[in-house]
Amino acid sequence: MERKIRVLIAKPGLDGHDRGAKLIARALRDAGMEVIYTGLRQTPEMISEAALQEDVDVVGLSILSGAHMGLVPRILKSLQENGMQDVHVFVGGIIPEEDMPALLEMGVSAVYGPGTVTQQVVKDVRKIVLGYTEE
């Protein structure tokens, strides 16, 4: 049996829209993954604590507020402090093209801007966690 992929979907920061986050959560669930959904307005500490307790393979962050360049490093640092530096971090939301290289440089596994196809995210998660793609 293929091992279960566990994903934490979190919404850091102050914006109050979780439609996109829920859409991704459902797509990952439909692909057979276990998705822990934590709701709105999560602090970096709340996210890394949940990632630790749930022992997830992937943390997916949905950020629409434009505050990603401030939030992402704080979350990565908090994950590291919790010994979770091996977890794969995905970032999606309203992320301008020009910020993407810097986010990847920080250690984020993948970044998705507006108009991302959810199936692409599913595929990437599989590939990064399991180390291969299956068609």
Binding site: E34, T38, G39, D55
Partner: protein, 339 residues
């Protein structure tokens, strides 16, 4: 590959080690079962409290409030709280959305609380196959109170009553005042009853109806031992003799508003009182005895089944089933042919 934790680190309460241990156990790895073997001697201390009731009744919100009070009790030391929240896996994709943490955000940042979400992974009856093992890990790690939130979808959530020392059944108003909906079975497993969402208009009605039902349906509780062994075991269960005839526990009923934390203190008092009742009447040990023997029984049966599977050949099974379906042999006769 993630490196794996060890028993010593779990016993020391290392949160990363605990989380990894849970994963190993959930995935049924060799390492996971070795860990359970090693930790077993350190288990049996925690108070296991089940919280069951229909989806949306407010179980997660209630768990959040209960844990908050145990963390900041008016008297005595804070109690370390482990939480296992079970949600259903999709039978089609095997995936799951585990959303109970959304209602438990008050507990984040408290190192005396450990919350783990869990998907049923195909098990029916409100718990996952490994929920009991999760409770053991958290118990060994020093969590003194373990709150277990069930799926709450089924009619027969007897599994939680088997696992937990104390079972809380949560009802909420507006599920139609169809009192048939308050099934006899659910009342039988309740050690404590809660009508949550007491802020809603129909709450009084639900409270009164439940109270009336309770008076009728609950002349006395079965002894823990009798009600656990509802089906025949492979061996005659060995009871633990307790000296006195136990007092009767009459399930109390509480209205709560778990979004605002109202009515929770009385509920928590009842949880503590029920623990004392179990311990004073030998019921705690009885339940433990019944549960462990059930577990041994299950293992025994699956062991024999797998032994048998290894030595029988598949064509023989096909032949026997074929003859059975053709009504050449009865089920009893077919069994003899297979052994």
């Amino acid at each position: 590959m993630k490196s794996i934790g060890n028993a010593q680190a779990v016993l020391a309460g290392d949160r990363r080690a605990i989380a990894r241990a849970l994963t190993e156990v959930e995935n049924d790895t060799k390492f996971g079962s070795a860990l359970l073997d090693e930790l077993f001697v350190y288990t049996g201390k925690a108070h296991l409290v089940g919280v069951t009731g229909s989806p949306g009744a407010g179980k997660s919100s209630l768990v959040n409030q209960i844990a908050k009070i145990f963390r900041k009790p008016k008297v005595g030391q804070p109690v370390r709280v482990g939480i296992v929240a079970v949600d259903p896996s999709s039978p089609f994709t095997g995936g799951a959305i585990l959303g109970d943490r959304v209602r438990m955000r008050d507990l984040s940042g408290d190192s005396g609380v450990f919350i783990r979400s869990m998907a049923t992974r195909g098990t029916l009856g409100g718990l996952a196959k490994k929920t009991s093992a999760f409770a053991q890990i958290l118990d060994a790690a020093g969590y003194e109170l373990i709150l277990i939130e069930t799926v709450g979808a089924g009619q027969s959530e007897v599994d939680i009553a088997r696992l937990a020392h104390t079972t809380i059944v949560v009802e909420s108003p507006g599920m139609g005042d169809d009192i048939q909906a308050i099934k006899a079975g659910i009342l039988e497993i309740a050690d404590i009853l809660v009508v949550n969402k007491a802020d809603q208009p129909m709450a009084d009605l639900t409270l009164r109806a439940l109270k009336a039902n309770l008076d009728l349906a609950h002349p006395q509780q079965f002894s823990a031992f009798d009600r656990m062994h509802l089906h025949t075991l492979a061996f005659e269960p060995i009871p633990i003799v307790s000296s006195d005839v136990p007092d009767i526990w009459f399930p109390p009923l509480f209205p709560t508003v778990s979004t605002r934390g109202e009515g929770i203190e009385l509920l928590v008092e009842a949880i503590v009182a029920h623990k004392a009742y179990l311990q004073d009447n030998g019921q705690w040990q009885q339940r433990e005895a019944a549960r462990l023997q059930e577990e041994l029984n299950d293992l025994l049966l699956s062991y024999f089944a797998s032994q048998w599977r290894m030595q029988v050949n598949k064509s023989k099974i096909e032949e026997v089933v074929h003859d059975l379906l053709a009504r050449k042999y009865s089920p009893q006769q077919s069994l003899k042919r297979l052994l």
